[in-house]
């Protein structure tokens, strides 16, 4: 199984949590990790900020979940913002068209500004 962990950090912005992704997300671990993100969203969270600075790999199933999470925060009148994506992560988000749906910025300050 690939090593990956998502940790949630409270933000100084209201109704906003930061999810920090570390390692590789693929078929071997995304199902378990996704449940934790859904649990946060079902708690009524409005905005989510994904910290990808330590995420080294992402596959298509993981991208499918990100697209679904984007839909859920939009339903809550919130916003999902990603920051710190490495070039390979940005490329795969871009090739499936997710960069047109989700704002991707350089750093946490940029993410806060985008909310």
């Amino acid at each position: 199984m690939s090593d990956s962990i998502i940790t949630f950090i409270d933000s100084d912005l209201p109704d906003t949590k930061i999810a920090k992704f570390v390692g590789q997300l693929d078929e071997t671990n995304i199902e378990d990790e996704a449940k934790r993100v859904y649990a946060e969203l079902e708690g009524g969270l409005k905005n989510m900020v994904f910290d990808f600075t330590e995420l080294s790999y992402l596959n298509s199933k993981s991208i499918g979940y990100i697209a679904d999470w984007q839909g859920k925060v939009t339903e809550n009148n919130g916003k999902l913002v990603i920051f710190g994506a490495a070039e390979n992560i940005f490329d795969i988000l871009d090739v499936v068209g997710l960069t047109k749906l989700i704002e991707i910025v350089d750093d946490l300050e940029g993410a806060k500004g985008a909310l």
Binding site: D26, T28, S60, G64, N88, V95
Partner: protein, 151 residues
């Protein structure tokens, strides 16, 4: 003397249809690509391509006792990655159906994002064929974009 640019490498891996086998395979192909002087960006894309091809073979073309065959051929001009499954999965779109991916047949399907968008997006060529003895053979090619000064 054979220069590094005359090198041809051919690897063939047969592995049990279990997702846990894929991370080391995508790392292997990344390292082959770097060794064969593909640029790092392409090598990263090849990891995704191997991942999607193998995931596809396991999810759609295999049962727990099946095997998947991954072949990597690399020379000074391109890398070819071929993935074969045994066709024992529960859902088996034919090669003919999958070849219509660009017509949005699989636009919203789980199989569509990996093959249609990622593999087609990162590779220069993709061909999908039904195997005579069952399953699919998917062959993809990435042309080397940046030739070395000595080539």
């Amino acid at each position: 003397m054979i220069s590094s640019y005359d090198r041809r490498m051919h690897y063939k891996v047969t592995f049990p249809a279990d997702y846990k086998n894929i991370p080391p395979l995508r790392e292997m192909v990344y390292r082959i690509a770097i060794l064969d002087e593909f640029d790092k960006k392409d090598a990263e894309h090849l990891k995704s391509v191997v991942d999607e091809l193998c995931n596809n073979a396991i999810e759609w073309g295999s049962q727990p006792t099946s095997e998947v065959i991954l072949e990597v051929y690399s020379d000074d001009k391109h890398m070819k990655i071929t993935c074969r499954d045994q066709g024992h999965g529960n859902k088996l779109p034919s090669g003919e159906v999958l070849n219509k991916l660009d017509e949005e047949v699989q636009e919203s399907a789980a199989r569509g994002r990996g093959l249609r968008m990622i593999v087609r997006g990162f590779m220069d060529e993709i061909t999908i064929n039904d195997r005579k003895d069952g399953g699919l053979k998917i062959q993809t090619t990435l042309n080397k974009k940046h030739q070395t000064p000595n080539s």
